[in-house]
Subunit: 421 residues, 2 copies
């Protein structure tokens, strides 16, 4: 089944709103086996709405329309739909009760513009808006389904979940669809693709491999869609291909499409380990990524953020002599930062970073992008990685952070020999 | 001038990526007086790309295409464009040098797939990619301009800023266009709009006021577009309206649309002041925002990031008795955090945060969203603000950060009486 999404309203076209609705719809429709073939964003002009509907119904079986249902003058979607489907606007009693209810609960007067929101084309099926005032509408014409919903994300989502997904299921093809994703850390897309060429060339036509790069992660997704195989069979097939992929690329991946901070957090919780940080060039971004995860206070204790030279001495006890001798961006200082902060913060693992995020501050021996990352472990040692990152200040901060979190991931996924004591 | 944006690639249609590129383009094109009439998102199939181009050129003067230029097999945009514009693919030496440079700097081998990225249709104008490997391309046909750019946001943005906006300006209509923006901190859009109703109602038709809310900032932009007035006249008119706006809303704004961290950084540099942080609930996000600004090492010294209870005692010398008595989320603890960190970090100003970012951890007296923000000043006192924020964990972290930075902005913009000594 093919779907097209049409969003109506200026706010997306002038960049005032990012179109998160379509992303949500695309993601969920895909899971229901509905393929979105186009997303079309247009303004509130009648001729553009009509042209978009006419173009969409040539391509798609299902047309999902969001936006343009508000109470203000520029919201004309409902009138255009009534005309398009040769209908009269009539008051829907259920929608009117819903509107009155909402206004009474808020202690506000119901204005005429609000009452008018209960007007709907007389040949549509009304979809109750459980989260707001504007009713949704669905139409059937020439075997195609048209659904019009408000642009407010939680109102639209509630209508999809309560009503529309059920409608789509009832019309569904008999495909089995299976997706599975692994996430690869620190390998460029082109290198991955080079390694996986022969696997890709030999995939059967019902299985597709997608590369989804984001910062220094690449998500690899295998999707299988077939009327010939059961879901169990497709799962088995995908598992086999992933086993080949994993043995081809080595230990640079983790299962699923979690964020790296979330994955590392889960691993720390599982082993009842704690972590702290001693950041310099990453400037608090590692702490921010870790603490963005709900429940991170269980395993994250804090940071000595030693951005300035003198702060490294004052709060992380880095020796002034060592700083003078080898400089702040050095293996020695990184090692001491990781160890001293591990002790002061009383944590099992401690991540330290020191480097030159740029764009200024580089020299011939210590160019912009040179970063030392240290990981102090409960066994007492410090793992040090010397990196030369490229890119903007923002990219160097991101790459430092993701490389550091991946060092922790690798360390946590390495089986430890039990020690006595 | 009318523009259409076409995004190519599965990732938007299946909801794996939110289309922030189009929002950025829509926003900036609008400022250049270019109206975006449609955004079309399609997959990588040749027939869909061709159909989208054919439909777009009927509606628009400028067609901006993003995505589909990666090195992998599913990226076919370049081949389709070559065919569409009756061209042969040839190697562009500039693009090839750029690719080799990037790979050499990263110390990685240049693979055939990378070399192939330098192939371009022989009748396009190549746009150098200053941030990545895939070159951009522009074509002229029947008076229409077509520009194809990578989907990676910072690569696309650099091409727009370095080359494409200039091209659009050169094709522009003979309008004078002037935009000016001020940024308002901490006032909801609806409250602002209420205060500015009568001003808005009396604006002449060639001047428009836009509200651009982002987190707890609202950018107010006045845009004047006219064939009847010079740019100098439009600037004068906008200045007058802004004077009225500023006197209506009070000291809650700053000039321009800088980021708050950038603005605060400029103020600190100007007065040769330093700042440090002692973050709990904001988890390093204040430090990250400050250190994202180039040159922040001049004024930012570091942080005691005391996320855990015991870390507040261990590294910020918060008294265990006070913690037991009034809890970590309290005015007393916030004050002590700001003062102790100010001393330890040897800074003029020190920001402290302690609160409940949620979604768990709230109680009846101390609900999720309760945050104390402290600002220790060089005069010796600590300014404390008690906030009750609403929203998700992410929103509470952001609001805490922006409120804290705005406290610092206000303090830095208050004239000080010179003291002796």
């Amino acid at each position: 089944m093919l779907a097209e999404i049409i969003t109506i309203g200026d706010e997306i076209l002038i960049g005032q709103t990012v179109d998160t609705n379509s992303a949500w719809l695309g993601h969920h429709l895909n899971e229901y086996g509905v393929e979105v073939i186009q997303i079309t964003s247009i303004n509130d002009k009648k001729e553009n709405i009509v042209a978009a509907l006419q173009a969409a119904e040539k391509r798609a079986d299902v047309i999902l329309i969001t936006g343009g249902l508000g109470p203000t003058k520029d919201d004309i979607t409902k009138k255009v739909l009534a005309e398009y489907f040769n209908a009269q606007l009539v008051t829907d009693q259920g929608a009117l009760e819903n509107i009155k209810d909402i206004f009474h609960r808020r202690g506000r007067e119901v204005l005429q513009v609000n009452v008018d929101q209960a007007l709907v084309p007389d040949n549509c099926e009304v979809i109750l808006n459980t989260k707001g005032t504007a009713p949704g509408m669905s139409f059937e014409q020439n075997g195609k389904l048209y659904v019009s919903m408000p642009g407010v994300p939680y109102e639209m989502k509630a209508m999809m979940e309560n009503v529309v997904f059920g409608k789509l299921n009832a019309r569904g093809d008999n495909y089995s669809i299976v997706h599975h994703t692994i996430t690869v850390v620190g390998v460029p897309e082109s290198h991955l693709s080079e390694k996986l060429t022969s696997l890709e060339d030999n995939l059967p036509s019902h299985i597709k491999l997608a590369y989804l790069p984001h910062l220094n992660l690449v998500r690899l997704r295998l999707s299988a869609k077939s009327t010939q195989h059961t879901e169990i069979e497709l799962n088995e097939q995908i598992k086999d291909y992933f086993n080949t992929i994993k043995s081809t690329i080595g230990n640079v991946w983790f299962e699923g499409d979690k964020n790296l901070p979330e994955l590392v957090g889960d691993m720390l919780k599982e082993h009842h380990h704690t972590v702290g940080t001693c950041e310099s060039c990453s400037g608090g971004y590692i702490a921010h990524c870790i603490t963005s995860i709900t429940g991170s206070s269980v395993y994250y204790k804090g940071s000595l953020l030693t951005y300035a030279y003198e702060t490294k001495v004052a709060i992380a006890d880095i020796s002034q002599d060592v700083l003078n001798e080898v400089g702040a961006v050095s293996e020695e200082v990184c090692t001491a930062m990781a160890q001293n902060a591990q002790t002061k913060l009383e944590v099992d693992y401690c991540i330290a970073t020191t480097g030159i995020a740029g764009p200024g501050g580089g020299t011939a021996d210590k160019p912009v992008g040179l970063v030392y990352i240290g990981l102090a472990t409960p066994e007492g040692g410090v793992i040090i990685k010397r990196c030369e990152f490229h890119g903007t200040r923002e990219q160097i901060i991101h790459r430092t952070t993701y490389t550091a979190l991946d060092m922790l991931r690798k360390e946590l996924s390495t089986p430890k020999t039990a020690t006595g004591g």
